[in-house]
Symmetry: C2
Amino acid sequence: MSLVVVGSIAFDSVRTPFGERERMLGGSAVHFALAASFFSDVRVVGPVGDDFGEAEYAVLHARAIDTSDVEHVPGGQTFHWRGRYEYDLNTAHTEDTQLGVFGGFEPKLSDESRAAGMLFLANIQPELQRAVRAQCDRARLVGLDSMNLWIETARDSLLQAIAEVDLVFMNDAEVRMVTEQPNLVRAARQLLGVGPRAVVAKQGEYGAALFTGDRFFSLPAYPLETVVDPTGAGDSFAGGFMGYMASRPEGAPDDEDELRRAMTYGSVLASFNVEGFGTERMERLEREDIARRYEEFRSITALAEVPSA
Amino acid sequence: MSLVVVGSIAFDSVRTPFGERERMLGGSAVHFALAASFFSDVRVVGPVGDDFGEAEYAVLHARAIDTSDVEHVPGGQTFHWRGRYEYDLNTAHTEDTQLGVFGGFEPKLSDESRAAGMLFLANIQPELQRAVRAQCDRARLVGLDSMNLWIETARDSLLQAIAEVDLVFMNDAEVRMVTEQPNLVRAARQLLGVGPRAVVAKQGEYGAALFTGDRFFSLPAYPLETVVDPTGAGDSFAGGFMGYMASRPEGAPDDEDELRRAMTYGSVLASFNVEGFGTERMERLEREDIARRYEEFRSITALAEVPSA
């Protein structure tokens, strides 16, 4: 099943305790697409400027990502984010944001993208998410991410967007914030009441929790001794999750086992993403690395039965 | 195998968004002992004042906890803590602390306590922990908890105490703090290098992580919709953990499956503890409630194999 992602394509300049990089390829759609590309066909929809060239396309094409719907805006500049992380790597401090062509982004989907079986609406303005969702009326599984900015400035639109998708991926703090409910379990249940079939609460270094119907699943983050650059971890998570779902015969949105596997592939891809700056680690990732780490996740969460004696 | 806990016995006055209570029975040794009592014989060592009476003893005796080593200091007052929690329940704000007889506490262990097979050193001054540990030279498994106060004021003593025990239970922030290492995995490995066989990093609403040798295990917290009073959750966790270990034929400190079961019983007991104020929920807890919630933990963490297709 083909998978379309709509979101930002960016250059990121990042400083962490482990070094710094200028103008790396980044953006939510890029991190998502690279992760998802290990499982399914992926198409990227997003805007770039004159500064986006062959080297950047090559990273996407090396993973067979379809860039036909990457929109080149002549005379424009690609979205540029500059930020740094403190030594605990948990909080990104934005130093500069140049929206460039992303500021006036109006997603234009080709017929092929509109016909996709799965759609991921990365973190963009909720009304744009709704417009894209409406265009993809044949998508069997639609996921959405968002951020505190939209909760603060466009909460009603965001709740409408959430009502129109199947899967919500948000940080746990954002799940609490959008529902104004400090208890995560209640907050996620409240969000399920709005419409989606599953809510994934991303918890950073603590992992992620999945809420579906009256069920709950939780997975720790992979225990990394060195996190080099957390930028894009959440998008890689969603990419691994939705890419896996797209690889299944029916997209299997109501199969709890499949959703748990998808959570795990999401965690696996996010864990690799943060091992290098930008897309460095993802560019040399192999399918076998993913399979091995999936098994490690099974091992680190395995809980034995109560002994009979 | 009998289990001794040395720590505080207290009255807690607590205010949370769900109500308030004056002078409830509390303290680290009390919360620990109640949790552990569902698995093994427990003896409590700690000081009380003239205000500690039959009603308080009755709570412990109802769970068959041995109070012979509870030291009554004539003319003294029992440790009294007053605090409140904000609506997210994650941070305790201390409003008043009256150490009372706990201020001059010098643990005195009976011969029976000194002969115990297992020992838990709840959060007290590290040199006191070391003195008690030295007295219990037949204990096959010794656990320890601590807090930021001792990291700040007695770090060297605390590291010596850690070197002399088998199991360390600390909040993840404290594991990072005592090792001055922001990455939890590195911090825990560093602490293992000091001597203990296992490090348990408690992560509050996110659960707990277990580090042993080169292995890692993580368990989420039970997904509660209502947390009434988090006071004593960490002590209940340690009590469930060590109580379970004490119930096993050999104390089984090097059996990874047993340690993971102990983690789960710790999480189960902590989850019940926070469902009521003080010891309210623990006083009416049944062994069947524990068994049922253990199975729920197995269910919420179960991760299926990769499908063959």
